[in-house]
Assembly symmetry: C2
């Protein structure tokens, strides 16, 4: 076993603290990555606090992982020691179901194995990227370009693919008006991708103070949704809304901003169920869809696209000892736009 | 003015009864239709009882209208006296907005004029098809084939187009597994169209007693949703669900029956809002969409398709004096599958 160190929550009531644990030896098809940076996702906090479902403790969060390959198994074909590599939200799946064989491992019909807070296929808990290393089968490791700032690349592994994938699936691009709802870790990546794909991008926000930041990210327009006049002016105007908000919000109001045939895409997970009046859909052949991260081939495609177009996340690098304080700031929306842990501080 | 007779509700608490009223004279672009048959839609009852919104009274319901042209205006181009014709849920729209010019008059951005319980563009209440005649601008009249049983054609004007349109929009056909939820006026047409378009059709029902009828309509499979074993067997199996139910129901359960990328299409309007857990959508990139009737060009296309393929509604012809008793039976689901009023009984 590989002696490893990280930060873990011992239970849902306890803050993260240093913890030593073991990872499996590097198998024939595995790579071992020395972790350089790990992004901080809002879902890390949801999970250590049992806000979605009862968690597996001790829990080492983190699924926006980048670093360097330090060991490869005998049968590894696509990675070499010394190369940059990343790991996102999944570390395994059945690899043979209808979805896996189409590269949709996130929708594996037998269930994909999450990078942390999950049991792997032999029943051992998985531990995430708030740690010094990770061992993963090579099919779930991603190639990372050395053209990009490495720390700012980490959030692409979750926030990036979570917004890239639905915009590609629904073919959002030139000629489309895209509204991005919420300007956090996910939302700011949605703006960057929407702009890169050629859409006319509007940020919808309750905070007038975010206008400057939204425009700096490339958004063409900014609408304060708490202002009835501004809201009225964009009724029935968007082809798509990319909804990154995980707080509860009035879906019917947002549906009224869509054009006929418009699609409201949910990538955030509010704690309360979504409530929709049937007429909000029938009145303009509208849809509400959801999308979860992306498959491995598409995650690689996204990383390559980012390398080509110089796209990374806007980040604030933190010391792992500040993780609890950073969570508190994240909950208040006081981060532009993603905290990334410098793993040298571990 | 044209002296007309029909059945009207004087207010939301009163049953339908004979009522004399006036229709406008036949204008240059109008046709006058002597009504032969009118279908009975569940929405007729919702509206006379103010279940959706406060209605305009006296109210003459009915928007599944077929009959014969008895007069045409000087500038009418496409209809001649003596021809069969039909009128559906709309009698007017702005004719110049982005949706109207694409033949999506049902989503007219200025609001389409409903066949009854609405004010026309000069502010006069509209009266529906439970009457001896109707005057309508020719753009909102449909050609009806003499190849089909005329009474059984009437429900195509609402139940037909309401199910035809979304199946066409979402390109449901060969290679798709389609579930039809609810086997009433809408659902039985959904089965017929789904089969005609080449889909593998399953009827989902809480009543085991409906299996024989579903198969007679052409459904390939029948699933009793109250049987956990039958339900388990179809988890994650459908590409589309056509949801025709206007009673409240558990959307999350039905979403679990969809494949990855599956779409749940709502054409019924439950009184309570739809409640969806975000994970029900994100867990398989699923969508919930809604669709309202269809535009005029597509309604004509549907009628022509039906004439070509010999598709009509299964109906029970009634005397207009039995309308209140028929409503009571409709509410209990005791009709196969649509009541149609024989207007000779008026």
């Amino acid at each position: 076993m590989i002696q490893s160190k990280g930060y873990a929550a011992q239970d849902a009531a306890t803050d993260l603290a240093p913890w030593n644990f073991e990872r499996r030896e590097v198998g024939a098809h595995d790579v071992q990555i020395e972790i350089t940076y790990c992004g901080v996702c809002h879902s890390d906090l949801h999970q250590i606090k049992n806000e979605w479902f009862p968690g597996i403790f001790p829990m080492v969060p983190g699924h926006e992982i980048v670093g360097r390959i330090i060991k490869v198994g005998d049968h590894v074909k696509n990675f070499k020691v010394g190369e940059l590599a990343g790991v996102g939200c999944m570390v395994d799946s059945c690899q043979h179901c209808e979805n896996c064989t189409q590269g949709l491992e996130q929708y594996c019909l037998e269930g994909s194995t999450q990078t942390y807070n999950n049991l792997d296929r032999s029943g051992v808990p998985t531990y995430g990227g708030y740690s010094n290393n990770i061992v993963v089968r090579e099919e779930f490791a991603l190639h990372i370009s050395d053209k990009l700032d490495l720390a700012a690349t980490a959030p692409l592994l979750c926030a990036g693919i979570t917004t890239y994938s639905p915009l590609r699936f629904w073919k959002v691009g030139k000629g489309h008006k895209l509204a991005v709802l919420g300007l956090g870790g996910l939302g700011h990546m949605g703006v960057k991708f929407g702009v890169a794909f050629g859409a006319e991008v509007t940020v919808l926000s309750t905070s007038p103070s975010k206008e400057k930041a939204a425009k700096e990210l490339g958004a063409h327009h900014f609408v304060v949704t708490s202002d009835p006049e501004q809201l009225k002016a964009v009724k029935g105007s968007f082809d798509f809304i990319l909804d990154t908000v995980s707080a509860n919000h009035d879906m019917n109001m947002y549906l009224s901003l869509l054009k006929t045939n418009g699609i409201h895409i949910c990538v955030g997970v509010p704690t309360e169920p979504i409530t929709i009046h049937a007429f909000s859909l029938l009145g303009g052949r509208k849809s509400v869809g959801g999308s979860g991260i992306g498959g491995i081939p598409e995650t690689q495609e996204m990383l390559d696209f980012c390398a080509e177009h110089g796209i990374v996340s806007d980040i604030e690098l933190i010391d792992i000892k500040d993780i609890t304080a950073s969570y508190a700031r994240m909950v208040k929306g006081d981060v532009r736009y993603r905290f990334v842990i410098d793993m040298a501080t571990l």
